[in-house]
Amino acid sequence: MHSTDTNILPKSANDLINRKWKFSELISDSIVRERWEKVRKYFFLRETTYDMSNRCNLKCDGCYYYEGEKQFAKENRDTEAWRALMVNEKNRGITYVVLAGAEPSLSPELLQVCYDIIPLGSIATNGVKHIDRSVDYMIHISVWGNDETSYRTRKAKDLLKKQIKNYKGDPRAVFVYTFTRENIDEVYEVIDIIKDADCKITFNMFSSPVGYNGSLRHDTDSLKRTRSVMLDLLDKYPDVVLFSPYSAVAHTHASSLHNLYSCPYPRMNPSKDIGLGRSFRQYRTDLTWDRSAACCVPDTDCDDCRHYAAGSAVVTARMYRHAIDPETFKSWLDYVDTYLAIWVRGYDKGKNLCEDMYPPPGFEL
């Protein structure tokens, strides 16, 4: 059972927090140690993202791709140019690719080129067009509500039915339900369909593009309601939902991910010394990139960013800040275990170590 009283921790938890912990103590418990050893094997992952096309077969309200300059990039469909790029990327240490915008399934030959050279990665797709099994990346299929809502906001008829038809039982598939201010309760009917299709679901938060102030943007009330629904679904569908209580905390907090954790992507981080600030790039479909715009979801308003892809890097990168007490560290481990299960083929998520919510370091719940 998850605690929903958002400002009160169990007394024992407060006792644990009010002392200084050594790292060796945090990982002395055999279960925690095992989880730590499990996730640290993936510290070698170094990501970069790529827009694969400037075309899409849908036109969605609030779409990230059709904001800012990147949408005007001229599409490069030359497989040899992409092959050369991937070889260069591999040589500079990139071990993980995120293939996105506008709709990557419309460039199947390029997906195959990427996979042949860098075999770890994921594809962000709307799921309308099936991606061949020979491209063994994780497939993230975007869901923005039930089919009625999808028709209204994405102009797509029977979208979930099409997505399910394409990816039923596919171990690559994770359905990514984006909570907006308007579709919070619709997730219940969607998750039943996804469960019946033997698929997994994780959660994303609508994060406004710069300048967007429309009806999808979250407010205080919708953030609270979304958190409550996420925790309820974690309880009711533990075998279907890839998420953790701390994931819910991080992504539905009143403060954005950047304000909670200091985003390390180049767009917000001038340092080129180490980590994402050093290695991350966001390539446009013409194979150029711009450091000042480089983050996982460019043109998002950083003060409203609660995006699942951002959190996967932003929260994970702040291990040091979470190594302060057993519950906070276990919460972080749950978060990383969740993100790896969502992003890495063959990685199996373990049972969450923390059943209750704990606050981000330095913040209230």
């Binding site: 060796s24 510290f43 290695s279």
Partner: protein
Amino acid sequence: MAVNIEDVDLKNITLKVAEVVISELKLEDITPDTFDPELDLIDELGIDSMDLTTVALVLQDEYDIVIDEDDYPTLKNIRLIAEYIMKELKDK
């Protein structure tokens, strides 16, 4: 247990840092004695921020000091890490 500053010197700290880096990164074919103190951990050894965080947390335990997250980018080789630790021990 905290380390007594009288019992350590820079060479010993450097060896200990090398031992931790080798152990945590599971490096093979290298010993603390043969670890080049000037080897660039990021450019030449290829370690990333998560590995460096792990090393820093283990060294914090070992010397009972705090290695500030903001200082990680300056810790480019084991000599610099050892000097950082030495300074922290002296300032305690």
